[in-house]
Symmetry: C2
Subunit: 127 residues, 2 copies
DNA sequence: ACGTTGATTAGATACCTGTCAACCTAGAGG
DNA sequence: CCTCTAGGTTGACAGGTATCTAATCAACGT
């Protein structure tokens, strides 16, 4: 997607599919933190959080940018910038089909992030 | 904690205890995004993600700052700054006891964030 | 009262980020 | 080939942030 020259430095999160003891189970190592923090960072903006939600909750499993842009009081380039941020964080995928560009969520990494945050009730109870 | 004058503008997340359809179930409203994005943002730094993990995974349910600081190659003030960010995002609580200051996680908001990210397997399957 | 140690605050600085206006690119359709 | 439209990229600018040093504050021992 976008320009074909530089292979955008995607966070490689598919490397570790099963994955992820919770944050609260053991201390997350620096390397893991370095990989996952950018994903949280990407969600750390209200606009991007909404964009992510709109993409993830799309009935069709994907959304046209043309449906995203008018939902905000922001210019096209700004939305484009936010979408790029989500892309580079590995949270979404984009595909051009004809005139339009469609965004799709990457459930795997969402699961990974959720797992990191999830607090095992049993483990929590025993304190 | 810290200075007693200004009640630090904490994100009020205790207002909504049950809470939170997933990101992917329905589009998260702007107000929700505005409230939760700062929490994700706070976790969007590798150092803070590790700090959060160290605090949340502490055996005793809390950690002394004196145990956190030496774990990083950063100065005391910098760690203090990151801890303040976590505090202001509502992710942790701090308490001074004698000479030392102890940080404790706020599981409620962690659960809230995890819930937002969690993808209902059933819902995901039906697409 | 004084000095020491742990932690936060203040100020400075270099870098990063959100936003927009202007421009560019890719397809679609003549 | 030309033009129109949907998106993306560039460059600029204001504001935010991560980090440091220096100063301050708080509690403990002497």
């Amino acid at each position: 997607m976008s320009n074909q020259q530089a292979p955008i430095p995607l966070v490689d999160l598919d490397a570790d599919p099963s994955c992820c003891p919770s944050l609260a189970q053991r201390r997350v190592p620096a390397e893991t933190a370095a990989v996952l923090a950018p994903a949280f960072k990407a969600l750390g903006d209200p606009v991007r959080l909404q964009l992510m939600s709109m993409i993830a909750s799309a009935e069709a499993g994907e959304v046209c940018v043309c449906d995203l842009t008018p939902a905000f009081d922001l210019t096209g380039p700004t939305i484009s910038h936010h979408l790029r941020t989500l892309r580079e964080a590995g949270l979404v995928d984009a595909e051009r089909r004809g005139t339009w560009v469609y965004y799709r969520p990457r459930p795997q990494i969402l699961r990974q992030l959720a797992g990191l945050l999830s607090i095992d009730p049993a483990a929590a109870a025993q304190r």
